[in-house]
Symmetry: C4
Subunit: 257 residues, 4 copies
């Protein structure tokens, strides 16, 4: 394998499809959102994307079965509205600069082949911890951005870059005459953050008029919070211990000098 390529699994007729892309990144926001969407809507596998720019190892599952790292396209026939949905997520981002451009371009080409006219990319936006993460939006045109803002997304206060596939797809989409919007959930970023994914999905639900229940995501949020609380307690304990040790040290020092 010398180049990124897409292997189609089924042939389907898609009705004005919209592509929603969420690669693993900051807080895994994009990946959590796409996996939740695909499961809730019972989306089916459409195609795999393989690339020599993914890390050079393979996944082994609990049954001892092996597969390459890959990206997966899912499709969902939307019976109630005019737009079918295609989802994309993957195991990993590309490992080189050129690979990032190549994979983003390959996703776009596949979208174009299926006559996608709108792409939504999902990712994380680094901030300090907040009760309710906001959603930052950026887009390739102002009408699209307005749709995101009406759905309660915000524009970033500062000009900050969007790193990785979530950004590059928007940048490259102009060459293909595809509109694209990026939704970034605020996250501290160093732990999987379903709360940020939920904020993004609320905006997406409004934007795309989706009838989707986010309750089960609440459970993941609760689970993630327990982990965070536990980690915080461990950290507090460590800080206290370090404090105690410092005091002991100080005693010694003051005794000497």
């Amino acid at each position: 394998m010398k180049e990124t390529f897409v292997k189609e699994l089924v042939k389907v007729d898609l009705n004005n499809p919209i592509l929603v892309v969420g690669f693993p990144g900051l807080g895994l926001v994009g990946k959590i959102a796409i996996r939740y969407l695909a499961r809730q809507l019972k989306a089916e596998r459409l195609a795999y994307l393989y690339s020599p720019h993914f890390p050079y190892f393979v996944h082994v599952n609990k049954k001892g079965s092996v597969r390459l790292l890959r990206g997966t396209f899912y499709f969902w026939k939307n019976k109630n509205a005019k737009n079918d949905l295609v989802f994309f997520t993957g195991d990993s981002q590309a490992q080189t600069i050129e690979g990032q451009y190549e994979i983003s371009g390959c996703i776009l080409d596949f979208a174009k082949e299926h006559d996608v006219k709108l792409i939504v990319t999902i990712g994380g936006y680094r901030t300090e911890a907040k009760d309710k993460p906001k959603v930052i939006a950026a887009a390739t045109n102002s009408e699209l951005l307005d749709r995101a803002l009406e759905a309660k997304a915000m524009i970033s206060a500062i000009e900050s870059p969007i790193v990785g596939t979530a950004g590059l797809i928007l940048g490259l989409s102009r060459f293909k005459k595809v509109n694209a919007v990026c939704l970034l959930g605020e996250t501290r970023g160093y732990l999987p953050d379903p709360r940020a994914a939920k904020s993004v999905l609320e905006v997406l639900r409004t934007m795309l008029n989706l009838d989707i229940d986010l309750t089960s995501l609440e459970e993941e949020v609760a689970k993630a919070e327990k982990i965070v609380t536990r980690l915080q307690k461990i950290e507090e304990k460590r800080t206290l211990q370090a404090e105690e040790m410092r005091k002991e040290e100080d005693k010694k020092v003051s005794y000497i000098s």
Copy 2:
């Protein structure tokens, strides 16, 4: 040289050949296993694989003769059974991500040209020291995995990736409609580990119904163990010395405070 390529040395008709691949990696398990097999069976050289993704130096032997780093395919005409064997090992793994994919693909292409329908890859699996290393198996289909389990291999308790060529060949083999199984010998990994190679070869011998004597490998195991014992003694001595020094330091400190 701009691309990986294979240079065939002889033309042979191979009877339903099975390819066994062992690149140098963790504990050199794969390389030790293949070299042992090739020597014991008096396998002959079939082809060399060259690549610009190998390190940029050449080997010089004791006679002052020079050669590029390379991989070597060997073949063995199996008179007692229906499958001839092809072995592959090399001097080094590829040095870049893209090189890892390219070389794995090149090995597969060569196998396909020789009508190989089954590939076994061999490597190491990092664990703490054990008396008898187990063999972890993963495969591209469940029948093949069962064959490995019947030969006393195990499935990994946790989902852990297989890094490098040993894994990528399995991942890529699906595209070529070749079945492949990976056998990983448990090893601490930082020293050549013939004991782990022996465990793997015991499984392989059963799986492929090979009439092969592993006694001489015992000698290598004994030799390797002597080295390990010596290194452990050095380490113990160092630990003791460090302990003594700490005690001396403690005396000083308690004297001060």
Copy 3:
């Protein structure tokens, strides 16, 4: 996108055009100079250069609009003289060695298509702080170099390399039979340095007989100097504090021993 390419925005007939290139580099000298020129002369956009060797993120502006990193060519129809001007600057240099060569070559190709016969590249030259930064010149032929020296540029006292696109374009221009000169403004380099850009533009103005006012650049120089002064004060304060702390430490130590 797998290769660097140029996307032309308008078709214009250019009259013996001269290309002036300033990528971001040491002290941002090249970029500041080109942006000032383009604004003062009200130059118009001619083309964009895109490359998979630029960093893998996208820019978002205050309105939430997204675009790829890129280089921009501008053109200016010179009514008073025989040479129209083309300017080039960009968001970033290439991130790999091969990318540096590819992008420099791509700029040259574009120049050649527009029948450019002279290229000026602008950059920074690292030195200690000076009241009036000098301009160091180097060129592909001696007549061109003489023109720069007559315009008060100097030759470097020591043989020092020119790193990045500013240098590579000169190196590669021989293959295209284009003459090229490089003007480097002396700069400490770690802050945007409009003063160095001004020195370069003074030389360029003389060389190309440009009627351009550099007064507004003075304002940027004043602004930049305020920042430098502020940073210096912070640094002085830190040095003083560090000094105080050292003295305190010394007291302790001398008390002990």
Copy 4:
């Protein structure tokens, strides 16, 4: 420029030419040797080799003239013997693994076009300081190696790799049916080492029956030795000072405990 290429400067008929290659490397042994040979024999420039795998800067000379990094082929018409000579040296080695293979292959291709049947590569071999550096030889065939040994070169006592172009050219030459020998002068390696270059040239002179005077190289050796002596004195002084400081520290410590 996307690939390494050679640009021929003159057309000459060469008589059974032998190519001698010395890239900058350990102790600059190869480069010093080739430059000395080319000057002494008044060899003329034959061709330049350019590559996007060289570092991305350009050289500026004292006159302000600019050029790309490159390799240079020289030729020398040998009136007294049957073999004309071609020399090759360059500004820098390739900066990537794949570049090392590409440039070595490109040199070989050029040699093949000029019907070269023998290549000698020159480099350094790391050892501790010695009065008279030995020359280590390795070759693609035993007759050639014998010629080197007869000329007082030696085989390395241990199997050690040859890194970079000096080695890769030998490795790749088999594919082109060209014989090649590598001569490595013993050197500590961290300073330009004309003494090691001289040892290599003595062997080469004998092997190729060259009438060449090495006296002027003696002057460079003397100059280099002065630098080494000066550096050694600085180092000794530093060691003494460090020793003094340690003693002072020890006094303090023993005073405390």
